[in-house]
Amino acid sequence: MTPNVSTAPVGLDGLSRRYGSTQALDAVDLALEHGITGLLGPNGAGKTTLLSILATVNEPDAGRVSVFGLDPRRAAERVQIRRRLGYLPQDLGYHRHFTVAGFLDYVAILKEITDRRRRAEEVARVLAVVGLEGRARTRIRALSGGMRQRLGIAQALLGEPGLLILDEPTAGLDPEQRLRFRELLSGLPGDPVIVLSTHQADDIAAICPRVVVLLQGQVHFIGTPAELAATAAGRVWAADERGGSAHLSWRGGDNRWRHIGDQPPAGADLVAPTVEDGYLLLCHAADAR
């Protein structure tokens, strides 16, 4: 069932944003419920713009945003939203000379956690959640790329936010860390609204009950991962030879060619589609328009 924009905890109504001649977002309507919503889309689809507007960092040219009933256009309500917000931007830099704990403590103050003891507990908590408790005194410059990404996630988790916006959180994480990240998101207390932007369709399939596909600034799909996969039903085949009519084809680990398209190659077997197949077909359709 599609959530209602006006009654959902987080709603975007006719959201548009233009950068020069580029229409980054075009009349986006979206309702985000508690739990994880995966946001899929190619580079330049408008995902980061959408997330930055949700994070109250950016303002739309048109349309309305509502976060827990609050309107970010009003200064006082914007601060209220930010108090319930955890945000991990794409390509986050770090204060490299800070220690891990020092950085989190500083961010906790910026999140208005002013009580020292509560701040220390909160820092310890998020460090444990991301598995960096042994690195509290390490300078950020000494951390690996994956550890820094976990630190970025940790800062977003400070204060147990009601709205967690994660832009490419799994970039730079190794497979084990990605699995730990899925475990982490799944186990977050308080049932927050989580928006997860990623290029990893398997992350979406694994942990997101809902997925939104954003293409060329417009929402092209809202549904469950299974529904996204189902959009490719009857259009994905496996064959020994590469066919010429596929929108996309590649040789898989079983040494057979996987074809996505409207016409099957000769001798092909119809196979069950994945989220990735559905997403790729949506992208192809949008490009063809």
Binding site: A55, L92, K111
Partner: protein
């Protein structure tokens, strides 16, 4: 804007400044600057407290750069977008950065305290001015506020470096300002007139008004920093109002600093200098009279010892007693006299020209106020200079000045005797004396007397200006003979001198005669490569003939 958030952030920012390598380096560099500014000179509080500000200027430059780095940190570290999502706004952070400048205060206080202790332990004359010292601290804070204002707008570290450079240049270009205008600069480091004052002069420098100016500048920089980051019409209106107040304070402080010094103060100063007897305390010891401005009694032992050393070796003393007297500022420049009528200034300068330190007599030695070194090799040089001046008095070597040229005791035994007396009284290192035969560039020094080039000898400390007025130009022959005399038994030399004292004092008695009386060969003077003949139209030095 939550006060708790501001204070919690400010605590972090202050701690970052306390631990900043830049601030630490600035403090050390400031200490080095203060050391170099105060070490070679007599510790006078009315000069030293202002020079401590010179070190605070260096610390301020470092604090400016550090504050700029801290304020520009989110943008420089690509975290501006994340910071923009926090409930603590950019204005909150800026305010925290400004309050966090308290983290630079310990460095300023440490610098100030250490310098004050060193100055006080070296026997400082006078007492420190709280307004001047507070001004130095305010300079550090104002520089930090400027750093924050730059940092919130320009994140690149070069912006802070340029800001620090601008601060330095603005304080090092005093020649572009005149009169009271020099005090409008952040800190006038090279104000040398303070060195020549016999005591603190009220309103010079105008420390209270300057501190107010610096406070106004700090406030203005803070307001600019907040205006860049705070949104909202009402907040901006309040900031604009505060900015107007800050500008008014700066203007008022500027006007106060530009005010002429009170006529009564300058009259008093001129009287103190032109008629030192009216202000100085005099002490007589071993028939020598020492007259010093109040507070300078610390110099007495180091003056008395070399003079007594000379007196102890004299077969007979001159009829006129010797007076050792301090002399001060020979003229008043525009930083003192701005705003006063030209006729009044001319009157003051006429009075000063009649001051005894600028005239020459055969019975007085004049010391430049503020130039008497505290310790070390310079004190040894200064002691030798006083001993030599006392010895010149003892052998009646006059100090006449003709056409600005000191006289030369050419081939006069009394010159060697005077040098010998000074060496006996102070025992300087032989190598230092020997170095006086060569110029600073390693070449020979010479002067023209009676159309002949004469090899000269420069005694230690000759160019340091410990004494005012002209002293005779000494010859290499005189020094070499004196040096040979020091290798003879002291009793033997004393006996020879006492046997014909009046003869030796006669300016016609030559070096060779003295050498013969002592039973030694006249030392040969090294030649003058390239300087064999007269130097053409160059002014000639007269022979000391009285």
């Amino acid at each position: 804007m939550s006060a708790r958030t501001v204070l919690a952030l400010a605590r972090v920012e202050a701690w970052l400044l306390v631990r900043s390598v830049l601030v630490l380096a600035g403090m050390l560099a400031g200490a080095v600057v203060i050391w170099f500014l105060i070490r070679p000179t007599e510790p006078l509080w009315w000069r030293a407290d202002w020079r401590i500000g010179g070190g605070q200027l260096v610390l301020g430059m470092a604090v400016l750069a550090a504050a700029q780095l801290n304020a520009g940190r989110p943008r420089r570290d690509a975290m501006a977008e994340l910071y923009a999502s926090f409930p603590a706004t950019a204005g909150t952070r800026t305010l925290a950065h400004l309050i966090g400048l308290a983290g630079a205060v310990p460095a300023g206080l440490l610098l100030l305290g250490a310098a004050a202790v060193v100055i006080q332990l070296s026997g400082a004359v006078g007492s420190a001015s709280i307004a001047v010292l507070a001004g130095g601290l305010l300079l550090v804070i104002a520089a930090g506020a400027a750093g924050v204002a730059i940092g919130v707008r320009f994140a690149h570290p070069l912006a802070g470096v340029l800001g620090a450079l601008a601060l330095f240049i603005s304080s090092a270009t005093t020649h572009l300002a005149s009169g009271g205008g020099i005090w409008l600069l952040p800190w006038e480091v090279f104000q040398d007139d303070l060195s020549q004052l016999p005591g603190r002069l009220t309103g010079y420098p105008p420390a209270g008004a300057h501190a107010a100016e610096l406070a106004g500048l700090a406030a203005l920089a803070a307001i600019v920093a907040l205006a860049v980051t705070i949104a909202g019409g009402r907040s901006r209106a309040r900031l604009a109002l505060a900015g107007v107040v800050a500008v008014a304070v700066i203007c008022l402080a500027g006007v106060l600093q530009g005010r002429p010094l009170p006529t009564a103060e300058l009259n008093h100063l001129v009287t103190e200098i032109a008629d030192p007897a009216s202000a100085q305390d005099c002490v007589t010891a071993s028939q020598a009279r020492y007259c010093l401005y109040p507070g300078f009694g610390r110099d007495l032992p180091s003056l008395r010892d070399p003079v007594n050393g000379v007196l102890a070796h004299l077969p007979a003393r001159p009829a006129q007693p010797l007076t050792i007297r301090q002399a001060a500022l020979p003229s008043l420049d525009g930083t003192f006299t701005h705003g006063h009528p030209d006729q009044q200034i001319a009157r003051w300068n006429t009075q000063l020209q009649a001051a005894p330190g600028d005239a020459t007599t055969a019975s007085a030695v004049y010391l430049s106020v503020g130039s008497w070194p505290a310790a070390g090799g310079q004190l040894a040089d200064a002691r030798f200079d006083v001993a030599l001046a006392a010895a010149d008095w003892a052998v009646r070597l006059p100090f006449p000045v003709a056409s600005g040229q000191p006289c030369v005791a050419l081939d006069q035994a009394r010159e060697a005797i005077a040098i010998w007396l000074a060496i006996l009284a102070t025992r300087p290192a032989g190598s230092e004396l020997q170095a006086g035969l060569n110029g600073s560039g390693g070449g020979f020094t010479a002067t023209e007397v009676s159309n002949t080039m004469v090899r000269t000898w420069n005694y230690p400390g000759i160019s340091a200006g410990y004494l005012t007025g002209a002293t005779p130009q000494l010859t290499a022959a005189g020094y070499l003979l004196a040096s040979a005399m020091t290798r003879l038994p002291e009793q033997k030399v004393s006996r020879v001198l006492a046997g014909a004292w009046s003869t030796w004092l006669n300016w016609h008695t030559g070096d060779a005669r003295l050498a013969a009386a002592l039973g030694i060969a006249m030392p040969s003077v090294p030649g003058l490569p390239g300087l064999a003949g007269p130097a053409g139209n160059a002014p000639q030095n007269p022979v000391c003939t009285s």
